[in-house]
C-alpha cells in the first residue's frame, strides 16, 4: 500500500484516496471547434509513461479535495505533491520530493 501525503491532511494510506488519472488535461477552450480527431484525443488518449507521471488524486475519505502528485509509475515512488494553486513542477525532477 502506498503512503500519499495530502497537502491539507498529511500522510495517509492509499485506501483513503481515489485515483483521477493524468493531471493537467484541460477541457477544450472552444469545444464546438474541435474535429473528431481532436475530440478523440481529448476523450480517450492519455499519457501512459513508464517513469514520472503527473496525476490527480482525491482525498475521498478525508478532506475530499483534489490535488496533484508526480509519481514514478515504475517504482511507485512519490516525487512531488502539489495543489492546483501551486505551480506545476518540472516533471521528472527528482529533487525536492515531498515524500
Amino acid at each position: 500500500m502506498m503512503l500519499l501525503t495530502c497537502p491539507w491532511c498529511g500522510p495517509r494510506d492509499e485506501t483513503e484516496y481515489h485515483y483521477g488519472g493524468q493531471a493537467h488535461v484541460a477541457y477544450p477552450e472552444n469545444p464546438s471547434d474541435l474535429s473528431d480527431e481532436e475530440w478523440a484525443e481529448y476523450l480517450f488518449f492519455r499519457d501512459n509513461p513508464k517513469g514520472p507521471f503527473a496525476e490527480r488524486w482525491s482525498h475521498s475519505a478525508g478532506c475530499r479535495r483534489w490535488f496533484n502528485v508526480v509519481r514514478d509509475t515504475a517504482t511507485y515512488e512519490v516525487l512531488e505533491v502539489y495543489t492546483n494553486a501551486d505551480p506545476r513542477p518540472v516533471v521528472g525532477s527528482p529533487a525536492g520530493g515531498s515524500r
Partner: protein
C-alpha cells in the same frame, strides 16, 4: 488425486542469433506474440520471421494470468473473436500435438442484484444469437454445478442465479506458450529472447526495421504485441494509443484436493476463482486503480478479493494463501482490444486486451497475422481498429469483461 501435469519439456526451440533482416518481426514473446508468429508461418507461409522478446519467453502476462477461457461476451464483434478463439482452443492440443490440459469445466458468472440478473439475461440472449453456448441457472442449479458456492439467501449479496457457459474452461498457460513456441520453431521462426526493442528504423512514415539491444534488424512488417508496454513502444515509434497500464494482481492458495469443479466469476462481490490441475485455488479480481508498470500492486486489493472469495466460498476459510503477484495490463476505454494498422506504414499493433487477453490468444494471433501479412484487417478484427475512437463506434465490454477496470 489431482491429475498429473505433463513432463517439464526439454528445449523446444532453438536460441538463434538475430539475422540482419526478416520479412516480419513480432515484438513481444508472450502468448499473443507467439500465436501471431505461428499463424504468420502456418496461414501465410511466412517463415523468415522473428519473435523478439525483451525478457524470457512468456514471462509477462502469459505467466501471470488466471488462465480462464470463455467466449460469453455481449457484442457481436467480441463474440466473433472470442468464440473463434474458443473453437481454436478446442482443437489446438491436437494441431500443436501438445496436451496443455485445456479443461472445459464451464464458467459461472454469478448475479447478485436485480441489475446483474437483467444484464446476465440479456447477455445469454445475445450469446445464443451468436451461437455461443449460454444458459441461465437458478441458485439451486448453481449449487449443483458448483456445490461449494454459498447460495444461501441470508448473506449481504445472495446469489440470485448465474450464467453458465459449459464449453468454457482453463488451460496450463505456460504449456500453451511452449506449444506455440515449439511449433513456430519447427516452421523456422526465430525466437529471440533477451532482445529489447529500443527504437524504430523509419523511412519517412514507413517502418523498415527496429533497433534492439542486440543490434539493428530490418523488417518488412513489424507487429507490436507487448501488452502493458504497448504505449512505451508506441511512443518510441511516434504515435499515441488510448490505453493505460495498470497492475493486475492474482494469487494462489496452497495445494488442496479437488474441491472446485468449475470456474466461478462474480462481478458484484468481485472475485474469480478456479482450481488448477495441481490443486491450487487460483483467484483474481480488479486492477489497481493507478497507472503502474511495477508488476506489483497494493495489498488492500488482495485483502478485498480474499474477503469476496470467503463470502462466496466459506469452505476457503482455512485455506492458506501461498503467493500473490502482479502483471501489467493495458486497459482500453471500452474494455475491448486494439488490433490493426497504426499511423505508420508497415507497423501493426495488437494491444488493449486489459484483463482478458489469455482466452483470446489464438484469435488475436490469427487476426494479427492476417493483418501483418496482407496489410488489411481480418473480419475478426475489422471493428477493433484505432479509428473507432474517432468514429465513436466503441465496443463496450465492461459488463462481460467481468473485471473492474
Amino acid at each position: 488425486m489431482a491429475k498429473l501435469l505433463p513432463e517439464h519439456p526439454a528445449w523446444l526451440w532453438r536460441d538463434p542469433e538475430p539475422k540482419a533482416s526478416y520479412d516480419a518481426i513480432v515484438v513481444g514473446g508472450g502468448g499473443h506474440g507467439l500465436a501471431t508468429a505461428y499463424y504468420l508461418a502456418k496461414n501465410h507461409g511466412m517463415t523468415n520471421i522473428a519473435v523478439l522478446e525483451k525478457g524470457w519467453l512468456a514471462g509477462g502476462n502469459m505467466a501471470r494470468n488466471t488462465t480462464i477461457i470463455r467466449s460469453n461476451y455481449l457484442w457481436d464483434e467480441s463474440a466473433a473473436i472470442y468464440e473463434f478463439s474458443l473453437k481454436q482452443w478446442e482443437q489446438l492440443p491436437a494441431e500443436l500435438d501438445y496436451d496443455f490440459l485445456f479443461s472445459q469445466r464451464g464458467v459461472l458468472n454469478l448475479a447478485h442484484t436485480l441489475q446483474d440478473v437483467r444484464e446476465a439475461t440479456r447477455r445469454i440472449n445475445a450469446n445464443r444469437l451468436n451461437r455461443v453456448d449460454a444458459e441461465w441457472l437458478e441458485p439451486d442449479e448453481v449449487a449443483k454445478v458448483c456445490p461449494i458456492v454459498n447460495v444461501s439467501q441470508d448473506v449481504r449479496y445472495p446469489v440470485l442465479g448465474a450464467t453458465f457457459q459449459p464449453r468454457a474452461g482453463i488451460a496450463k498457460h505456460d504449456h500453451v506458450a511452449w506449444a506455440f513456441a515449439r511449433a513456430c520453431d519447427a516452421m523456422g521462426v526465430d525466437i529471440i529472447q533477451n532482445c529489447e526493442v529500443t527504437g524504430f528504423l523509419k523511412d519517412g512514415d514507413r517502418v523498415v526495421g527496429v533497433e534492439t539491444t542486440r543490434g539493428r534488424i530490418n523488417a518488412g512488417a513489424v507487429g507490436l504485441v507487448a501488452a502493458g508496454h504497448s504505449t512505451v513502444l508506441a511512443e518510441k515509434a511516434g504515435f499515441r494509443l488510448p490505453v493505460q497500464s495498470h497492475p493486475l494482481q492474482a494469487l494462489v492458495s496452497e495445494l488442496y484436493e479437488p474441491v472446485h469443479p468449475t470456474v466461478v466469476m462474480s462481478n458484484h462481490v468481485h472475485v474469480y476463482v478456479s482450481q488448477a490441475h495441481k490443486g491450487e485455488l487460483v483467484m483474481g479480481a480488479g486492477v489497481d486503480a493507478y497507472n503502474g508498470y511495477g508488476q506489483r500492486g497494493s495489498f488492500h486489493v488482495i485483502e478485498h478479493q480474499m474477503a469476496a472469495a470467503l463470502e462466496l466460498f466459506p469452505i476457503f476459510g482455512r485455506a492458506r494463501l501461498l503467493r500473490t503477484w502482479g502483471g501489467i495490463v493495458d486497459v482500453s476505454p471500452d474494455a475491448s482490444p486494439v488490433i490493426g494498422p497504426t499511423p505508420l506504414e508497415n507497423l501493426y499493433i495488437n494491444c488493449g486486451w486489459g484483463t482478458g487477453g489469455f482466452k483470446a490468444t489464438p484469435g488475436a494471433g490469427w487476426a494479427m497475422a492476417h493483418t501483418m501479412a496482407t496489410g488489411e484487417p481480418h473480419d475478426l478484427n475489422r471493428a477493433f481498429g484505432l479509428e473507432r475512437f474517432v468514429s465513436g463506434a466503441l465496443i463496450d465490454e465492461h459488463g462481460a469483461a467481468a473485471v473492474a477496470h
